[in-house]
């Protein structure tokens, strides 16, 4: 049952990513060069709507929340490495799968690179990486926990800030269009 709903969520996500252009590495590169902000604004809208819906619906419905631990060194270092790869290749781990579905050959190259990266990570995990990743672990921290405020309130506030930012920011900086 979980597998079926995950499959359906994946299909919907794949269609949405393809339609918004997130599986185009050229559009990702233009977003990272800040020439076009459509994908960044798409992501911020997704987060805002998702956060407000999850925490308001969570007042009445059970939610399968899964907060990941903030082990600062690994999370920040991993983010910095990820950003370089994101700019060099123009794909993220999901969009290269969507791109492969579209018939992009460079997406296949990125996917194979990802499998190789996972192999390297697995081989070096016990000897080199595990000790570093244990450092500076703040645990499963949320913004609501840091601020000592109710999560639904923080979700609505964060969502409002994100929506205001995407409404205010131009989609193509340099041009006068939205």
């Amino acid at each position: 049952m979980d597998s079926l709903s995950a499959l359906l969520v994946g299909v919907a996500m794949g269609v949405l990513l393809q339609r918004v252009g997130a599986s185009s590495p050229a559009l990702i590169a233009r977003n990272l060069r800040l020439e076009n902000l459509s994908i960044i604004k798409f992501m911020a809208t997704t987060i805002a709507v998702g956060s407000i819906v999850v925490y308001l619906a969570g007042l009445w419905l059970p939610m399968h929340l899964d907060i990941r631990p903030a082990y600062v060194l690994g999370v920040l270092g991993g983010g910095l490495v990820f950003g370089v790869g994101f700019a060099v290749g123009g794909f993220c781990p999901g969009t290269c799968v969507v791109g492969l579905g579209e018939g992009r050959k460079d997406a296949l190259a990125a996917l194979l690179g990802g499998v190789f990266g996972a192999l390297v990570f697995t081989l070096f995990f016990d000897a080199l990486l595990a000790p570093v990743l244990k450092m500076a672990d703040l645990g499963k921290l949320t913004l609501a926990g840091v601020l000592h405020l109710p999560a639904p309130l923080v979700a609505v506030a964060l969502g409002a800030v994100f929506l205001a930012a995407v409404a205010w920011l131009p989609t193509e900086p340099g041009r006068s269009t939205r």
């Binding site: 399968h64 082990y71 950003g83 060099v88 781990p93 460079d106 703040l138």
Partner: protein, 179 residues
């Protein structure tokens, strides 16, 4: 008689045009991501890569796979996330079938890039770095940035800041280098 269809078209088109594409699709994705959390859990993609490695190594080198802490921690390949990734493949295929434009086989993304071999090399290298980075951090664009920040996770915010800081810097440098 002539004015009638025009007003009908205008009334039909205006509400769609009022919302840009990224906003409409982003809002729908937000609802999908919330539905996922309601149904089984937050969306996440990058963990499937080491789980695939785990499935391979359990076949080829079961002794090693059983002793590797990371593969044991990541668990079985038969997880909802694996079906999510399969869904991405299907979604990309289906959406492109109904798309007016075909996706290019190879897309050049930085100034001065003209060789297909260089593009495949960059895509492969980028693939290595995004998965290595994502596994260091314990999540990627979907698990940390989309699902993470949706759940107000501090880790997601730290990861997102790192990704955009180095991503923007690298993209700007690559563009300058190509000119």
């Amino acid at each position: 008689m002539n004015a009638q269809p025009e007003t009908a078209v205008a009334a039909d088109v205006v509400p769609v045009r009022a919302l840009p594409r990224w906003a409409l699709l982003g809002a729908v994705f937000g609802l999908v991501s919330a539905a996922s959390i309601a149904l089984w859990g937050p969306i996440g993609v990058s963990g499937t890569y080491p789980r695939f490695i785990g499935a391979l190594l359990r076949l080829l080198a079961p002794g090693y796979a059983g002793a590797n802490t990371y593969l044991v921690r990541m668990g079985d390949f038969a997880k909802p996330e694996t079906f999510l990734v399969l869904g991405l493949l299907i979604g990309g295929f289906v959406a492109s079938r109904f798309s007016p434009r075909h996706a290019p086989r190879v897309e050049f993304i930085h100034a001065g890039q003209t060789s297909a071999a260089a593009r495949y090399r960059d895509a492969f290298l980028g693939g290595v770095l995004i998965i290595f980075g994502a596994r260091l951090a314990g999540g990627c664009t979907s698990g940390h940035i989309i699902s993470g920040i949706t759940q107000l996770s501090v880790a997601g915010m730290i990861f997102g800041a790192g990704v955009f800081a180095s991503g923007i810097l690298t993209a700007k440098l690559l563009q300058r280098g190509g000119r």
